[in-house]
Structure formats: structure tokens, C-alpha cells
Symmetry: C2
Subunit: 343 residues, 2 copies
DNA sequence: GATTAGCACTCGGGAATGATGAGTGCTAAA
DNA sequence: TTTAGCACTCATCATTCCCGAGTGCTAATC
């Protein structure tokens, strides 16, 4: 791909992409020569631009309106042209301050992180909370509520809690509950939640269980408690995106907001980012999602040690300040990783 | 107030309010005579409308544009003119289906309730989750995590859970934790959370405590666990409100979305609704909130027995289908009450 | 006295018009 | 290969004009 383009076309393409990112207006040949010192005449630039259009890097909204980068152009720009900046001191400062623990619980930190991503980028910030499954099992407790209702509380190593209301067939004694909890805590010590699930299944098939109805019940309860709830997604600063001129049109805006109200829609995409470690970029059509037309997604995974926990990032128009946003996302991910490390 | 107006003015005001609710366009004298059979000429209607403007019920956007109801008119309409409809069978059906428990936890139910309110009304649905303080204490547990970190888990009668990560000065033994939990569970049995807070303070001052550092610590921990987190607010169907013509303007819309991103802003208003039992209506300026200009809020409290738990409702433009929305809000509140009753 | 017809007046919104300017593609000269 | 020149396109913006819905006032009518 790189060699289809001469050095000169590359320069011109870069100029157009950057100008368009800055102004959101179609770029004409004269504008290019005026704003960048290429020592070329507009006519020459016109010829080059015509070639670039032929190759699919540029498109014209109408005959006399200059040209606009395509998704392909942004992709080329991000892959080959972009010089990633550093995160400015003050921005580092702000991220660190706003994403700190400071007595907040995990949910609050992640919500605030999504907002921070949004204010710094001026687009939408997005954070997917760690899947519970990635955690280490710590302890399970049963609390008797009124009647036959039971609350199972599952605590993981890092202090996240999952609880589940269980309706039992018959009333259970406190002593029974203690026995069940002891049994499970012993059985599941030190495993990841994913392993816990397997161990429960194994144990259910074992002989020992066949003769002890109580333990069998304990296993069923713990299994029920572990039913995976949908991953939590925090989307921050939706209002910020309204500043962008591409959403001035109400219809477009309505679409966007509908899309993000159903967080599930975009979760599949984010799951894909979760699999690939590090920074991930989807530009417009690359996401293969109709709601993402004209939008780009920049994500980075956050992790403790070598365990990927979750993913966070920024969603904005394809005309996005990649050079600025990519390092911000990256820096934030690393910071969140460090915070959860200490946890 | 009622007697300032003759029967005829009342009819005309009602006609104007209803037409305006239906069309969102300023209503002129001819329109009134055309759409409602009052057997009056436009000229007469004009005179009446002029009087109504004088009295502050109507306003004209500009000289030749018909008239628009003021907040005062809506208030009068709601108080004196409105005939509250019943909730349609299918709507009852939908509310019941979507707000059912069906294995969901409380948060999910309330979130779905806010969405349901939104789809049925075409405005924004809003639900404030029960304050933890209103619950009955059931049990407190301490779970040791790594190092000096401790997780306190507080369970209420109805199965809601509040947990808090606590950093201790020195490492505690499991036996100590059990003793602490036993002490607290015994001490706080049967109290409401609000009472629990008081009891902890009392106990801290008692003599017994002075000679038992462990119990003193237990009290401190429980106190920390009880620090009230902000009430959870679910706002559903923000996108639905974009259908309304009054938000066609992007600037207005941006304002709204910003206002509701900071849920805290509106929480004060909702708290006021919480105090008054039953249905509450704030029309435009009545809320004394700049963000609520041009918006109305209809709420109803939900409760178990005689305990008010929380509040739910609908936010939309002042030009709102009160006759339809009020019963929907009311019905939903009753339904949610019933659901939580069984809980 | 209340109601209505008539009339002059206001004003926003939409259609028509035209100027402006940014931009293009093509051709021929440098 | 590059560039100057030129004819052409088209969105945008301001201007103008007209239309219609609406108003307030006055005088005639019930």
C-alpha cells in the first residue's frame, strides 16, 4: 500500500487529513498550498488530489467543494503518517488526579475515568469494567433473609462483590449455611472465578456429593451466584460530543444516542478490543456496525500483571484528533492498570 | 383563582392548552373556532384570549403568531380542567411485563422501569432507587482480603447490599473479625439503618466500649460502612425526548443533556417529591431550576406499607400530555410498590 | 351589553433571485 | 512535468417579495 504513493502524494494526503481534522471542512487545492509550504502550485496539487481520489483516499461531497478524507485515508494516516504526541504535563496531572482511588469504589473510579477521557478528548469516554470472571476467588457467604430467601455473597480477591438472591425450597438453618460456606470456601480457595466454575461442575459429578444433599445444594447455590451478569460499561461525556460539527444535525444525533442507550450493541466491538492487547483503533466502517458509520473508536486494554482486566477508550467522529487522543487513551489505560495493581 | 374565569374562558383556555399540547404550534383565534365547536366567532375568541393574556395564562411569541400557554396555564389546566384518563389495557400489560422481577436484581428492575416510563410517555423516564437508610438492618460481615485490607458487607432485610473496603491499621485475625461481627449483629438486630447509625453513636459513648478496643474498632468500621453513598438515579430513554419538536434546536439539546449527565443537579428536586407522598407535578419555573425551564416533571412515590422508598416519574417539555402521563406514572409507582412488597 | 363583521396592520416564513467565492477539470504554454 | 489560464459548477448568503395567519380596534348587529 505504501508504495502506491510517492513521497509527494503522502505529504499532500497528510496535509489534507490534518487540515480536515482541524477544520471539519472540505479541503481544496488552494487551501493546501496556502497552509502548507509545499512549493507547488494549486494546479499540481489538484492533479495529485485527483489521483488520490482515484485510489480511494479522498472523496468529494460535490463538484466544487474540495475533498474529504475517506476511512481508508484515516487508516493510512494512522498507520503510516501519524506522529504520536506525548501527553501534556497538565493532562497527565488531570488524569492522575481524577482517576485516583481516594476512597471511591471501583465503579466510581471507572465512571470518573470515562468522564475524564471525555473531557480531555472532547469526545465520548468509554470504560468496560473488569469481567468478574477474571478475578480470584476469596470467599463466599450466605446470609439468611426472611422466610426461604437467602442472599449469597461472593467476594473476590480485589474486593469486588457479586451477590445474588436465592429462593430455597425449604428453610435452612444457620448451622447448615455455615457448613455450606465452609465447604465451598475450602473447595474454591485460590482459584480464579473461571476455574471456580469448572471446579463446581467437577465436584457435582463426584461421589462424595451423591450422599450429602446439603453440599449438593451448596454447589447449586454457588453456581447460581456465578451466573455472569453483563459487563458494566460506563459511557461518559455524551454531551461533549455535541460540540462536534458533524452532529449538528438532529437526526444524526438521535441515532447516536439511541445506539449508546443500548450499550449491548457496542459491547461486541469492545470485546474484540479486549482480546487484542494494547491500543486498538477502529475507523468508521472497519467496525462493521451501522451505528459506527462516521465514528472511530480508540481503545486500550488495562491489566494487572499479565491478566487483561478490561478495556477503555474514546469514541468520536472519524475526523478525530488521533495524534492527541491515542496517547491519552494509552496513558489512561496504564494508569488504571497501576491503580488496580495496588488494589 | 377559579372564579377569575368564566365558564367560557375556561373552555377556551382548555381548548388552547390541548391544541398546543397536540401540535406544538401557537394557537390563533380562528384555529380555536375551527377545531372546537364553541359556536363563537373568532373575534369573540380573540377578546377572550386577550383577557387570558392579561391574566397571565397566555403569551404571544410575536405579534402575529397566535398564543401559547404559560406555566400558569398548564398549572390551571392540571389542577382544574384536566380529566385524568385511565391507563390503557395494553399499556398496563406492557408496564407489568417490563417491570416484573423475573430473576433480575433491584437495579435492573428500576433501570427497566425508567425505560418503560420513557417509551410509554415518549419523554424521559426517571427512577430514584430506595435510599439504603430506609431499610432494616439484617447482618454485617467482615471478609479479610490480602494484607491489612478488609471488606465490610452490610445486608439489609430486603436483600440489598452495601459494601465498603476498609484499610486497617494492623492485621486482624479471623477470630477477631468473627467476634466483631457477632457483637454488631447482636447490637443492631431489628433496627432500621437510620436507627443503626444512632445506636452506633450511643454505643461509642458507653462505658463498656472504653475497655474493649476491638469492639470500639468494630463500631468505627460499621460507621464507615454506613457512609451514605449518593442515591442512585436511573434516567431512561433520553433519546426519546429528541422526538419532541422543542428540542430540535441543538443548543437546547446540549443543555438538557449536560443537565442530566450531572444527576446530582436534579436530585434535590426529586428529594422534594420524595417528601410529599403520591403524585407530584412541577411545571417549568415551579421547579426553580434553570435547567428545568420549559420542562415539566411528574413523579409518584413508591412504598412498602407506609414507608416511602423512592420516587419515579417522567420529565418532558411543559407541553406534555398530562392527561396520559399522570396515570401512567401513578400506575407504575403502584406496581413497583407491589413488586417490592413481595420482595 | 355582548357579539360579530370588517378592516388595517404586523410579522414570520418560504420562494425567487442574484452575487460571491471556493473549487474543479482541461488545455496549452513553460 | 509543472503551471498558468480559463470556463464552468455549485453551495452559501443576503436581499427582496409575497403570502397567510394572526392581531387589535371600531362600528354595526342581535
Amino acid at each position: 500500500m505504501r508504495d502506491q504513493l510517492t513521497e509527494r502524494s503522502r505529504q499532500i494526503l497528510e496535509a489534507i487529513v490534518e487540515d480536515y481534522i482541524a477544520t471539519a471542512e472540505p479541503i481544496g487545492s488552494r487551501t493546501v498550498t496556502r497552509r502548507h509550504d509545499l512549493s507547488l502550485s494549486p494546479a499540481t496539487v489538484r492533479n495529485v488530489m485527483s489521483d488520490l481520489e482515484e485510489l480511494g483516499f479522498l472523496a468529494s461531497p460535490h463538484t466544487s467543494a474540495g475533498r474529504v478524507p475517506t476511512d481508508k485515508a484515516y487508516r493510512f494516516y494512522v498507520d503510516s503518517l501519524l506522529e504520536v504526541r506525548n501527553v501534556a504535563r497538565e493532562e497527565q496531572e488531570e488524569i492522575r488526579k481524577r482517576c485516583s482511588l481516594a476512597g471511591k469504589d471501583l465503579g466510581e473510579v471507572l465512571r470518573e475515568t470515562s468522564r475524564t477521557l471525555s473531557t480531555l478528548s472532547h469526545y465520548m469516554g468509554i470504560v468496560v469494567a473488569p469481567r468478574f470472571t477474571a478475578n480470584l476467588f476469596r470467599q463466599i457467604e450466605f446470609v439468611k433473609l426472611g422466610g426461604r430467601r437467602l442472599l449469597a455473597i461472593l467476594v473476590s480477591q480485589n474486593g469486588t462483590v457479586q451477590n445474588k438472591l436465592i429462593e430455597t425450597d425449604e428453610e435452612l438453618h444457620a448451622a447448615d449455611l455455615t457448613r455450606m460456606a465452609n465447604y465451598l470456601n475450602h473447595l474454591l480457595q485460590g482459584l480464579t472465578i473461571a476455574q471456580v466454575k469448572e471446579r463446581i461442575l467437577e465436584e457435582m459429578r463426584s461421589d462424595k456429593i451423591k450422599y450429602d444433599a446439603l453440599l449438593a445444594q451448596a454447589l447449586r447455590f454457588s453456581q447460581e451466584t456465578l451466573i455472569d451478569t453483563e459487563a458494566e460499561v460506563f459511557i461518559g461525556g455524551q454531551a461533549n460530543i455535541l460540540e462536534q460539527p458533524e452532529f449538528a444535525d438532529v437526526g444524526r444525533m438521535k441515532e447516536i444516542f439511541r445506539a449508546f442507550e443500548e450499550k449491548g450493541q457496542i459491547l461486541g466491538l469492545l470485546d474484540r478490543c479486549l482480546e487484542a492487547q494494547g491500543v486498538n483503533i477502529y475507523i468508521g466502517s472497519e467496525a462493521h456496525l451501522s451505528q459506527m458509520m462516521g465514528m472511530s473508536l480508540i481503545t486500550a486494554t488495562y491489566m494487572t500483571g499479565k491478566n487483561t482486566l478490561g478495556v477503555l477508550g474514546v469514541i468520536g467522529p472519524t475526523r478525530m484528533g488521533y495524534a492527541k487522543v491515542i496517547p491519552i487513551v494509552n496513558y489512561t489505560a496504564q494508569l488504571v492498570s497501576r491503580i488496580l495493581e495496588v488494589e
